[in-house]
Amino acid sequence: MKVVYPHMGHMWICVKAMLEYLDVEVVVPPPSSKKTLLLGVKHAPEFACMPLKLNLGNFMEAAEMGADTIVMAGGCGPCRFGYYAHVEHAILRDLGYRYQLVVLEPPQKHIGELLGKIKHITGHQSWRRVINGIRFGYHKAEAVDQLEKMSHYCRPRETRAGATDRALQSALREIIAVDRPEKLPAALNNAMGMMNAVSLDKQRPVLRIGLVGEIYTLLEPFSNLDIERKLGGMGVEVDRSIYLSEWINEHLFMGLKKNKGGSKLAKQKAIKYLGHSVGGHGLETVGSTVLYAERGYDGVIQLLPFTCMPEIVAQSILPRVSTELGIPVMTLIVDEQSGEAGLVTRLEAFVDLLARRKQTGKVLA
């Protein structure tokens, strides 16, 4: 059995760690690229959203590398993501691929349901080992998140263009290389050292923008045209409303690990504007925008793939949040048609005017 799972930012690092710890052979597809997207676009229904198309491309590229089993998260509720695994599997079957499918669904009642699925992939491993494996993967996710957060701080302040990106790449390599849980803390220390070595201009004034929206688009840099790096290069410190470890904790572990930031607060904040769940991360998008306004951020950018229903609901509510709380919000919708130049133009315009707004401390005169 050679297992493949779709790309979503750096998720591959922690899933790989978990599965390899459990002696499962893993195929990591090449990073999502134009080629991945073209493959997906060609074979997916046109009105499916970009994540589905990229997943499909990932699976097709991985098949060439010998993958034969797909492991994917599922979901429930009004968002289409819940049946993506099955749709993708059906499309692949029609194309002649022979993939086995394992869907990791958020457990309805008990974490045991999830463990059972994982045990199915890992065969005869002991429960104890399976749990250790999951914990290992989770800790890697936390490490990666921490490094990414450091990069968000460094990028707008770096004194040499590209220094943060280079440091982050080597820091991540440290984490990727770890094959045993006990070695992780030392590697993380090393990696953080690399990030701390980036030379910074701490006096430089920076803007702060919060990124909210649909999780895949937030986490996968290919799908959002590398928005974090682009904004960083424009002198913006970004904060993402969802990090991978938080999502795993909430979505798959039923919030087993407490005090993990997470979306609870955001959901409470959303109530004033949107009283009930609309699936996906619609509630969190509204709530996080409120939180960013309260924390004095300069602006918020909402990211979503074209046709994403929960986010469209949120989008229609954000203008009210924006006016009431006085925080500028811009929505960016991505799909395979989005041109890079158009996106950059919009980002630049938004950032420029936030900067002007901050400088003058009032409306443009």
Partner: protein, 324 residues
């Protein structure tokens, strides 16, 4: 005396303005780009130099438009900003508190929504609303009237004819039909303006909340018939600024003035008009993204490049041009 240059290199036209320290326009130049942006910028600089009184010293330069990076590198711009920002800055200076900018040029249409002085949203032409300016030109010449008279004639209309303006092809055939039915020219012209405004609001301004004050700019803003049609459709008055035609270049000059405040300019002097520049490019095969990388060469030396997703080429250049 100090002056600031703003250069707007678009796909159709290239505008250069020089403002004084107080932001007033001293001189402006309009050229057709004709697919040769480098030459046009150089030519424009020569004309500007010739037109300037000798005592003006350029203290800052800004570029904008689709050719902004190119022009910025060649000329040594202090700021390189996109058209949304420059148009918004220029309009907010002319009409403080502006909340909506309608911009219709020869080929491009866009709408910019400002809230609290910040661009909150914007859209650029969908296929159908592109070329509104050239379409008006065409129809004027078909009806045998000067484009300059178009607007004032339209204002004389008693009852504007309803023209199907969903797209230029329908609009044209419907106009011909209405002419044959015997409607008079002013009524037809006014009807055409209303059709184009409807088309713009439905296609470009789709779903956006248009609040006053509204600034109408771009070449088509010269047409008083279009202005009147916007006012009729929106229900409030629309402001056309004095330099409606060069707002991008004006905004770039204003931003250049801000950027060089207490700093020296990167302007490389008017003699860049005589140097030899070339734009080249290649498709990188470093990874499956196959980026199209653009290079600018001065006397055979690469002086700038962009278009790479990973920074492999642009970061490698010794003096890193910050593209923003």
């Amino acid at each position: 005396m100090y002056g600031y240059l703003g250069i707007d290199v678009g796909s159709v036209s290239t505008n250069i303005v020089l403002t004084g320290e107080d932001g007033t326009v001293k001189h402006s130049i309009y050229l057709r780009t004709r697919g040769r942006p480098i030459e046009v910028v150089q030519q424009g600089l020569k004309q500007m130099q010739a037109a300037l009184p000798g005592k003006i010293k350029v203290a800052g330069v800004g570029t904008t438009g689709s050719g902004r990076h190119l022009a910025g590198v060649i000329i040594g711009a202090d700021i390189i900003k996109n058209e949304i920002t420059t148009h918004a800055v220029a309009a907010s200076n002319v009409v403080p508190g502006v909340q909506t900018i309608l911009e219709i040029g020869g080929q491009d249409s866009k709408i910019i929504i400002l809230r609290n002085g910040v661009v909150a949203d914007f859209a650029m032409n969908t296929v159908c609303a592109a070329g509104t300016g050239s379409f008006l030109d065409q129809q004027a010449s078909r009806l045998n009237i000067q484009i300059e008279d178009f607007g004032s004639l339209a204002l004389q209309a008693a009852v504007p004819v309803r023209i199907a303006g969903r797209c230029a092809v329908f609009a044209e055939s419907d106009m011909i039909h209405k002419q044959q039915m015997g409607y008079n020219v002013p009524d037809i012209l006014a009807g055409l303006c209303e059709a184009l405004v409807r088309n713009y609001l439905n296609n470009v301004g789709k779903g956006k909340e248009i609040l006053p004050p509204v600034v109408f700019q771009g070449g088509v803003a010269a047409n008083v018939g279009m202005k009147a049609a916007f006012e009729k459709a929106l229900g409030f008055s629309v402001h056309v600024p004095l330099y409606y035609n060069v707002m991008g270049a004006l905004g770039a000059a204003m931003l250049a003035r801000e950027a060089t405040n207490r700093k020296s300019t990167g302007f490389r002097g008017f003699d860049v008009a005589d140097r030899e520049f070339k734009a080249g490019g290649f498709a990188c095969d470093g990874c499956p993204n196959i980026c199209e990388v653009v290079e600018i060469l001065e006397s055979g030396q690469v002086i700038a490049c962009w278009g790479d997703r990973c920074g492999r080429w642009s970061n490698a250049l010794a003096h890193h041009e910050k593209i923003s």
